[in-house]
């Protein structure tokens, strides 16, 4: 199988999950070369998301990439551990929808991506402070009402 071959080549660590999707941890250094190779096999980038492990372990975030290959009829999950403030290369050159998916991760977790063409908030407004899906963001925090923007008249 393709996945085993790639996993061996990049010495990925297998993770046990509750579903049948093969899952691996990838090191940050090998990240971009791994995904360049995966691009040939996996046509669709299904999802990018992150998990915040605040206070549970040393590296704060897990970035979770979910890929789908219809050639091989399989999904693949690649996870990358990153510390707060660390950056990952953007995949928006490989899969076009990575553009929005990475913007969402940036919006919700404050994780930045290197080489992203347009990294700004997507679901929340630009004046919003904080990143709501971080575990240290309070559930009921409220934000001040913004002043109305007056259109400039000539």
């Amino acid at each position: 199988m393709v996945i085993e071959k790639i996993a061996e080549k990049y010495s990925l660590n297998k993770i046990n999950t509750s579903d049948e999707i093969p899952s691996f941890y990838c090191e940050r250094g090998k990240f971009i070369s791994l995904f360049n190779e995966l691009k040939d096999e996996f046509e669709i980038l299904l999802d990018i998301t992150a998990v915040d492990f605040l206070g549970r372990r040393n590296e704060r975030f897990d970035l979770v990439y979910l890929l789908l290959s219809l050639k091989n009829k399989t999904r693949l999950r690649i996870k990358v551990k990153i510390k707060e403030g660390e950056k990952l290369p953007s995949l928006s050159k490989l899969w076009k929808n990575a553009n929005w998916l990475e913007r969402e991760v940036y919006d919700m977790f404050g994780i930045e991506f290197e080489g992203h063409p347009d990294l700004r908030r997507i679901l929340l407004y630009p004046e919003f402070e904080g990143h709501p899906l971080r575990k240290d963001y309070p559930l009921k925090k409220s934000h001040p009402r913004l002043p109305l923007l007056r259109p400039e008249r000539e």
Binding site: I44, L45, D47, T49, R77, L139
Partner: protein
């Protein structure tokens, strides 16, 4: 060249759903389009992290609110996979029937505005009328038209009512009639063809790169359907086809959805045959709940069947095993047990109380189903507590919307709205 910047939305009469499209115009042609989303962001994922597994279920109704049962299904299946529950066959067939009904309502809701946006208001009325009959079926079974929460963790809420067959047959006849009428009105209509053929074409390579799934991907001719590629429930036992388009334009997206409605009707008919013979209910004498309580005050135990609240019909104790998995530690006890025995009461409270409840083992799970718009999946990370540590929805519309700006570039302003309608954006699912 002088260009004009035009804001369409977020509150615009032609926009169904709050979304802003900033278009740069040269005359009437769109040169550049920027799509701004997030106007319906409600923090679903953050809320879910602070609710118990059972409490999250009603929130999932509000994601894609034209096919709420498919969201229920994806969520319930994800939690069941974490817990390792297997659902009884009758519940699976019921899930299939109602899943397909939801898919039809989703497609009807998508096709109706396409016609309306091009001035064919009759189409809108035909489709919405057909949808009403389907919602009657949902109403009779689930007790709600929209926010159903019918598919529960471990099974379904209730069995179908006695007049189900009648309602379903009527609804299917109406749906077929509406589809036939709309085919007659639009499919070969020269005005409709001129307005939709070769508008907003997406090539197959682009569609894959943008992560399209569902009818929008299939309209480009790419064969991928979760129901066929990774069968769940009993989709490998029923006979249905996956309609494909050719060019990936607005017309193909419309056509694929129309044909999918017919296939869904086929699936419903086949699945209905499997559940036609319902469980036999005993004809014993029933007593009202208050009589049983009165008797208990006098220290007596009335050993009779309890008259259930009409809202609870279909979840009687004698058929509970057939619609819910037999894992007492994870599913709520039948209502007869809850109100009449202390063990049932304890079991119920153990599952409802905060800090107890469903506590799946540590792990992570991603379970996809074929939603109305494509692959709809829940990614849940459990840390062994009664709340999901992280819950993420893979919304099919999100990836499709990221291509909207590209799709409308080079077309007229008047084509923006039909294109937008053809991808069936649902704000609840997109913005979460």
């Amino acid at each position: 060249m002088e260009t004009m910047l035009l804001n369409i939305g977020p509150s615009h009469p032609a926009m169904h759903g709050t979304i802003q499209i900033k278009v740069e115009l040269d005359g009437e042609r769109v040169i550049k389009a920027d799509v701004e989303i997030g106007y319906l962001h409600r923090g679903f994922e953050k809320t879910a992290e602070n609710r118990s597994y059972m409490q999250v279920l009603p929130y999932t109704d509000r994601l894609n609110y034209v096919s709420p049962l498919l969201n229920n299904l994806a969520y319930a299946m994800a939690v069941e996979k974490l817990l390792g529950i297997d659902v009884p066959p009758r519940a699976k067939w019921l899930r299939m029937i109602f899943g397909e009904i939801s898919r039809i309502t989703d497609h009807l809701t998508c096709i109706a505005p396409i016609g309306m946006e091009l001035g064919a208001f009759t189409v809108f009325l035909y489709m919405i009328k057909a949808r009403e009959f389907l919602w009657d079926v949902l109403d009779a079974t689930t007790g709600a038209r929209l926010t159903t929460s019918y598919i529960r963790i471990g099974g379904v809420k209730a069995d179908v009512p006695d007049n189900f067959e009648e309602l379903l047959k009527k609804a299917l006849v109406e749906v077929r009639k509406a589809v036939k009428d709309v085919h007659g009105l639009l499919s070969k209509n020269p005005i409709f063809l001129k307005r939709t053929r070769d508008i907003a074409v997406v090539t197959q390579a682009e569609a894959l790169s943008y992560g399209f799934t569902g009818p929008v991907l299939r309209s480009t001719g790419y064969y991928y359907d979760v129901r066929k590629a990774f069968p769940y429930l009993y989709y490998n036992e029923v006979d249905f086809e996956v309609p494909l388009g050719e060019r990936g334009d607005n017309y193909d997206r419309f056509m694929v959805r129309m044909q999918e409605i017919e296939q869904s009707v086929r699936i419903i008919e086949q699945a209905f045959k499997k559940i036609e013979k319902g469980p036999v209910k005993s004809e014993d004498e029933v007593v009202e709940a208050y009589e049983a309580i009165k008797a208990s005050h006098r220290g007596k135990y009335l050993d009779k069947k309890l008259e259930l609240n009409p809202n609870l019909e279909g979840m009687e104790k004698e058929i509970y095993d057939q619609i819910m998995a037999k894992v007492p530690q994870y599913i709520l006890p039948p209502k007869e047990d809850l109100y009449r025995t202390i063990e049932g009461m304890i079991r119920h409270f153990k599952l409802i109380m905060s800090g107890h409840g469903l506590r799946p083992p540590e792990g992570e799970v991603y379970v996809p189903v074929e939603g109305g718009n494509g692959e709809l999946g829940f990614y849940i990370v459990s840390d062994g507590s009664d709340r999901p540590y992280r819950l993420h929805l893979r919304a099919p519309v999100f990836s499709i919307m990221s291509a909207l700006g590209k799709m409308i570039e080079g077309h007229y302003v008047a084509d923006v709205i039909p294109t937008f309608a053809s991808i069936n954006m649902i704000g609840g699912e997109l913005d979460r």
